[in-house]
């Protein structure tokens, strides 16, 4: 299931819903992305007061659903969930949740990792960081492209 929403979510409630009543599930892997309180990626950047997440309504839902469907094709998942928020978020706030439930932990880990890697490079979201010097659009990162490319299948884009 995928959800694109302004509101926060409760990780415990979402994970419990994902597994409820399905005794085949042996493990759930989950990743939660949070707003950091500094610019850049090495912890030395300017302070971030808040972040605004813009998205492309319609295409976002469609891309997330396609990415989830790809994960379900590649791994034996009992269930999966992607929640991505948009709007203005303060430091420490939850941005995204990816959760995968499977009989075995290996499938859950790999599918969860795949989902967040592909989401980062394919789902149409953009981050605007507010710093003491004003707003700044976050640049895409090569390392995210490399992380996503790990999951490319031979002979396919």
């Amino acid at each position: 299931m995928i959800r694109v929403q302004r509101e926060d979510f409760d990780v415990g409630v979402e994970m419990a819903k994902l597994t409820q009543g399905n005794g085949k599930i042996g493990g759930v892997c989950c990743f939660v992305g949070l707003v950091r309180d500094y610019l850049g990626h090495d912890g030395t950047g300017a302070a971030v007061r808040a972040m605004t997440l813009e998205h492309y309504p319609g295409m976002t839902e469609q891309k997330l659903a396609a990415i989830e469907a790809e994960a379900r094709r590649r791994w034996p998942l009992e269930d999966s969930l992607v929640i991505h928020r948009y709007g203005r978020l303060g430091p420490g706030e939850r941005i995204v949740l990816v959760a995968t439930a499977s009989a075995h932990r290996e499938a859950a880990f790999e599918a969860c990792h795949f989902l967040i890697d592909w989401l980062k490079t394919k789902a149409p979201f953009w981050k605007l960081e507010e710093t003491p010097d004003g707003g700044q659009w976050v640049d895409a990162r090569d390392t995210d492209d490399q992380a996503a490319a790990r999951w490319d299948l031979p002979g396919r884009q």
């Binding site: 492309y56 789902a123 149409p124 953009w126 981050k127 659009w137 640049d139 990162r141």
Partner: protein, 83 residues
């Protein structure tokens, strides 16, 4: 044709959406970009470096030689940074 702009492209152009009817010879994304660049300095600035612009036609990623036609929804935006 519905044209959408996101993130800094929207900021540079000063609008998130335009409803336009380009002439028939504007048959590809690349031709559409050249046509849009003539609309304002903001458009020209937004499309100055197409290596940092991504394009979706009817909500699917497409290359610059992809065809466009009246009725299409064409979106321009920077590489995505969600998650």
């Amino acid at each position: 044709m519905k044209i959408l702009y996101f993130a800094w492209l929207r900021a540079k152009i000063g609008a998130g959406e335009e409803d336009l009817a380009p002439p028939a010879e504007v048959a590809t994304v690349a031709a559409l970009v050249e046509w849009l660049k003539r609309r304002s300095d903001g458009h020209a600035a937004a499309f100055a470096d197409m290596s940092i612009v991504r394009v979706a036609v009817n909500q699917d990623y497409v290359p610059l030689d992809h065809p466009v036609k009246l009725g299409d929804e064409v979106a321009f935006f920077p590489p995505v940074t969600g998650g």
